[in-house]
Symmetry: D2
Subunit: 316 residues, 4 copies
């Protein structure tokens, strides 16, 4: 049986304005600060058990630094290193101390430019006294400040050739297609794919220009749609730009809101509900061109025709 | 002290397709049918204590038939009859049997064409066995079918001269301005006004063409925004057109969704939250032209520039 | 027509541990601090327009200091002064500067020992910059910290003879009975009564011992039951004792949670939903002895038989 | 690597009053009827993709008939048949036609008396026209009638020796312990265990008497706690006994309500929220004797000391 990855671990984002991005992700969104070190701040939601699920890195321009995936076993890190190397993707080990909390891990660049990090060992520190949840199965107190999402949910990026990228994710890492969009001309434009029971740990969208290292958004999880509405209230009171007002996706069924980090322009989704796929005989759900609009927005704001294409990446 | 009306009683709408409108308001929206008689069906929400808060009347075209207001005392009906007569608005008594459940009442036409009915006595029947709430302070079981709103909330119509209409409502009936929009040129374009603690029992919008008997929408109340999201799910599953996707108004602070009755084209708002004004020294809240957009949509769908003007009325 | 009061203004509570009570009402409950002066701290919810709706006063023992009611007009303060004086209840004017923000006002002691304050003028300050809502019809930002209730809702106290107290409230101040409990022996044990459209601004419960100046609880308003659940999460994380776990009352239909201020033992209710009475011909809802249990708890925690009697007052 | 089961498929319950149980599970709870055949009715939630997740069987007494588990692959059915046989648990193939929609499957009795069914093939019919969701990733319309839960969630039963039963589930089927209770004397009293990312597909509680074939409850999933409150409203309006009023478990973090089927006495949980375990290096969460009370009820109704022991099974 082919080995697959266990889960999305974290996302690392570069921001040209670390303090403003910290205000957004910490004060407004309500993530918990785990550690500051050099030009990096590490964060996690109140039910993220590992050391961090988001890293902000001060840097020249707002780009994706890397996306980290956890393996099922310690030995899988070597297994995937070999597989990536054989695929010609030039993995390299992450130097010790480069990333707080992290054990043995390697990084490599996808053909589409995004850097992946593969790891198994990650510290699982308790929250500091005073911020620690009284619940034994939770890390930080919930609703301590800001919107206060539960945990990381998924990541979404754009590539020039979605089918090719999807195939690579299937073959290298065991991702399964859960839902996808196929245009009338046969072109498969977007995939929602996962290694977990989630509809997507990763969504792969089309980038017409085929640019390198594009990122569409990072998503954290809220427990219900009332909390999405509360997030909208909090974003508006803090003058945060809503990239997409609250609504429900058809694809994934999730309640959503999208906001823009004013320090970097990175897009954050707060994602609520959705469904889990426990059936091993799941047949990928096909959304045709004429169904695309309701697939993206089941109800909610009108979809800008360019929304799916509005990714962030290095200036050329 | 000037007498004022007690509350919005009900709205009567003409529909060219009674059965389709019944399917919408009863099966989908989930109002309770109280009575069928001739070409009329009477409805109410599960916590509307009076005989009806909505009447559908089969007729040639979709128009407002009348809006009914309840007085504080029986004697006030005569008081307001005189006042309306002195204002030259030609009231006439409603013939007995014309409207089910109704006691002594008169009707008259506003200068802007909408017909008002003023009454005090209205039957307050229990719900039929099997549909009756087990709660002593509630009428029908809640969440029995469809969206299931609690009660009528407000009505919203368009007139050629909002200030003039507002003044008439103040002088005749004791309405107070709660919030309003004033454009940069000084023109007062819209009023949210009430005789109760609600921000509005009535909203008066501008109709550029100054047409007669325009109606913008009728609103029923939902207890929370999660129920607004559930309403959106139910509307979408039933193929109902959303006139405006869920969001929050700045003015009134209400969570909202607007849907179109496919039998008539009448617009229904399901309205949630909002605030009450208990302060007798309330100062009307002014929204200036540059604040108008956030006043109408605090967060939610993009506002069509014509939304406020999209009223329904007699074909000319 | 008899004059009636306009609304509940605020409640002032004495606490033997001001800082711990401040931690509870400010940090955990999330009320906004308006002013500190001497041994007093003034608070309000994010949509309380007047200067304060809660005062905490440091003092020897946890007792009710006073309950304040606002009149409809400035002249009504004198009107009620006379009425109270004629009723033999010895009103006295509040010295200027005694209470921040307050205009002309008098206080008197009810025959049951609770002190009432009657006022019309109260400052309506904006929230300080940085905490001020961007909404023109709101004061503070909502969900800024803690549970974050909207506004004051009602007060509930115990007296030796509820009928007598109810009668006094009707005759002096125009309160109307909205719902009440009558035991099989004819004894009317509890009233929910209001001068507004709320089911109750005031609830009057029975105190078997007929003690002076008993207070059962003060209630603030939450917009929905999801926020009640969130309040429960926040209370538990902060080690707050729940006096009654979340549930729904039959009487008033409200979603509720009750918590205890660890600094004083005062009981706070967070109250959500409920209904408004717009009908002037409302007939008080009678709950008989056998209906009492579902009237108090429609669904939720089992009712302790002594819950209604567990009031707070001066040690004897 | 040891093979594990894929997911909980369905639960089959015997009821002495099929029509009354149908009224409860269909009309009140809002499950969708898939098929009636002989003395059986098959149901599923609006997002259960397989033919059924609940079977009601008319019979002499209210007992568990069987619990069905789906394998990851078709070949796994034979694999587990052998494994069960080697364990001396006497599997037998389910005769064709015995259960609607089911492919090749076998059943066997646990040492504790509960019958398990192991299958891979199950029909995945579309919902009938008119009841079919317009969403391509959903089966039935949601919120069509009754409470309307999304899907089956878990099952909970009592055994004489929880550790022994837990060990058997680990060794035979790959279940992992997620949370558990250990008393001061070292006795492990209860396990929450899963083969999916859920905290539990199965909970194993203690039955002091060590009786055969005890069932504590079957659980279906609701998307949020507001829907749990709505379920409480619907149950109360229909006179349904609440076995446990709404609250939140510490263990699993789930919002809950428990109700009793008046036709059989079977207990249903509606379960909301909770968390998923994506971490392969999850360390089972231990709840000690002194933490047990908050583990069972984080907030909500007072726990009856016998609640966990109140299972249903054959009369002796």
């Amino acid at each position: 049986m082919q080995k697959k990855l266990a889960k999305l671990g974290h996302v690392a984002l570069v921001t040209p304005n670390l303090e403003k991005s910290h205000w957004f992700f910490h004060d407004v969104v309500g993530l918990n600060e785990q550690k500051r070190e050099g030009n990096k701040i590490y964060y996690r939601g109140w039910a993220d058990f590992e050391h961090h699920t988001l890293i902000l890195i001060e840097g020249k321009e707002a780009v994706l630094d890397h996306i980290a995936w956890k393996t099922h076993e310690a030995a899988d890190v070597d297994y995937f290193y070999d597989k990536v190397e054989k695929a010609g993707l030039s993995p390299s080990w992450v130097p010790e101390g480069e990333e707080a909390g992290l054990g043995k891990a390697f990084r490599f660049k996808l053909p589409t430019g995004q850097v992946y990090e593969i790891y198994y060992h990650m510290e699982r520190p308790l929250a500091p006294e005073g911020k620690r949840s009284r619940l034994k199965n939770q890390v930080f107190k919930s609703f301590d400040h800001g919107v206060s999402p539960r945990c990381i949910d998924h990541v979404n990026f754009n590539v020039g050739n979605p089918s090719e990228s999807m195939k690579l994710h299937e073959e290298l890492f065991g991702f399964k297609v859960r839902e996808y969009i196929q245009l009338d001309n046969g072109f498969e434009m977007a995939y929602w794919t996962s290694v977990t029971t989630l509809v997507h740990d990763l969504a792969i969208m089309f980038d017409e220009a085929g640019r390198q290292n594009r990122l569409h958004h990072t998503a954290f999880y809220l427990d219900n749609f009332q909390d999405v509405a509360r997030a909208a209230d909090i974003f508006k009171e803090n003058g945060i730009e809503l990239s997409l007002a609250p609504g429900r996706h058809g694809i994934s069924q999730a309640g959503f809101i999208y906001a823009i980090d004013p320090g970097s322009g990175h897009r954050l989704e707060l994602f609520s509900g959705g469904y889990h796929i426990y059936d091993p005989d799941w047949k990928p759900v096909l959304w045709k061109e004429k169904e695309l609009a309701e697939g993206i927005i089941w109800w909610g704001p009108e979809l800008s025709p360019t929304f799916l294409a509005e990714s962030i990446g290095p200036k050329e």
